[in-house]
């Protein structure tokens, strides 16, 4: 099986602060990779590097075999059309309704008629349980609804790779489970490659086929949930023992 995402010796700094130090890992196509680590360990930076929202200082990042290192916005566009990104804050466009947020990528990248786009957006919103909120503005949604709307927008183009930043942060356990189930269904039915950043160990165990643990800019452990539970690193074992959500 080929790799959807490959990191080869990637480093990233912000000023004097080195966030990622010579990171290498690969996510196979159709795999579900969960990145764990303490706050500020570089997990979200890793997701942004995969999407080209940040540029690596050193090393190479390959997405479906294409080296994206150093590409500008226009050159990244064809690759980004196959990537869906759920931001931690959902990052819905304030000026557009929930439905128009979901329809936005379809309007930009397809030539479908307006009616068909609206139907498709409604169908995606239905999948995340928000079909009635098509006309609602993002400001009027709760945290969980925003997250689901963000997920709907990320799914609009039926991406082959889905990057998810903290799907359960700030959510109650029931909503968190619902979002996990959505991701599991997507992974199972559409064979999408998932890369998920989370602090929520139960959620990570449910989602992951493989996990990576970032600490102080280094990827110190990689493996299945069981392998990480018996890691040689105390911090990894401690983390994996945690049953606390988010």
């Amino acid at each position: 099986m080929s790799d959807a995402i490959t990191f080869n010796g990637v480093s990233k700094s912000f000023g004097p602060r080195e966030v990622l130090k010579d990171i290498s890992f690969a996510v196979p196509t159709g795999g579900a990779y969960v990145l764990l680590g303490r706050s500020g360990s570089g997990k979200s930076v890793t997701l942004k590097l995969i999407c080209g929202l940040l540029k690596a200082d050193a090393g190479a990042i390959l997405v479906n075999g294409d080296d994206i290192t150093g590409r500008d916005s226009n050159a990244l566009a064809p690759i980004r059309k196959h990537i869906g990104f759920l931001f931690q804050s959902a990052a819905l466009f304030d000026s557009l309704s929930v439905g128009e947020n979901v329809a936005f990528p379809l309007r930009r990248h397809t030539n479908k008629p307006d009616g068909e786009i609206r139907d498709q957006a409604t169908a995606i919103l239905e999948k995340v349980g928000l079909a009635k909120e098509f006309q609602t503005m993002p400001g009027a949604l709760s945290g969980g609804m925003r997250k689901r709307a963000g997920l709907a927008r990320a799914l609009a183009m039926e991406p082959a790779i889905l990057l998810i930043d903290e799907p359960s942060a700030g959510l109650d356990p029931i909503t968190s489970n619902e979002i996990d189930q959505l991701l599991i269904d997507l992974h199972t039915n559409q064979h999408a490659t998932l890369v998920v950043v989370t602090h929520n160990i139960p959620s990570a165990r449910r989602l992951a086929t493989r996990l990576g643990f970032l600490d102080d800019g280094h990827l110190i452990a990689e493996g299945t949930p069981e392998e990480l539970a018996h890691s040689e690193h105390d911090i990894v074992r401690e983390f994996m023992k945690s049953q606390q959500a988010g």
Binding site: L76, R80, D94, F104
Partner: protein, 273 residues
Amino acid sequence: MPIATTQPPPPSVLQSFMESIAAPIEWFGGLCLFAAQAIRECFQRPFEWTEILRQTYQIGWQSAPLIVLSGLAVGSVLSMHTRATLERFGAESMIPTALAFALVKETGPLVTGLLISGRVGAGIGAELGGMRVTEQIDALESLAVNSFHYLVATRVLACVVALPLLTVLMNFSGLLGGFFAEATISGMSFPYYFHAAFGSLAFSDFIPPTAKTMVFGFLIGTTSAYLGYNASGGAEGVGRASTQSVVLSSIFLIVVNVVLVKFIAFLFPVGGA
């Protein structure tokens, strides 16, 4: 036994001075590169017609009430001041002409530019700053949309298009305000007032000062977009971007106006600036 530690020597006066001037130079260099990219992106496909029209509506049409009201006030005040001066020389009949020249050549373009830098500059700085800190700009990029092209180029273009149109509106409102003041004070008739005002104006008096507001629009658009697009630091950063957008675009506008007035006077020695 205490361990001796070596501390770095304090920076020299020259070093501190160099560091203090390096940051503004770096900032200004960034702004110039941003402006150059904005020009390039304005001419690159795909042309975002829907977004350009939406921005032109917001920047232009929605600023119209502010411009009309300000124009009426500025025109009537200018008329009263002009009357006070010309009355001494028994030249009241010259009031419409003097007012038209003052408005069309300088007051109209400059006041329009300053008003729009206040209303629109703050708006662009706050809107893009808000989008930056809430990751909406990242979200646009993740959806395979060139955020600079979609957000910055469209707003800059809308400012460049809207400013001359708003300046014409300001000029007419100013003349109308002047007429109301004159009609109240001296009972001057409408046909006489406008005949006197426009009779002495040539196209060369009107076109260059109005066209220079395109430069004002570009300055307002790029400065405020630069500050908003590169905002950081949460709500405080957005507020800072918004305030600096108004302050800096107004300063740039006033300074560049001096250069443009001189340049127009050089190109059109008779009518001109």
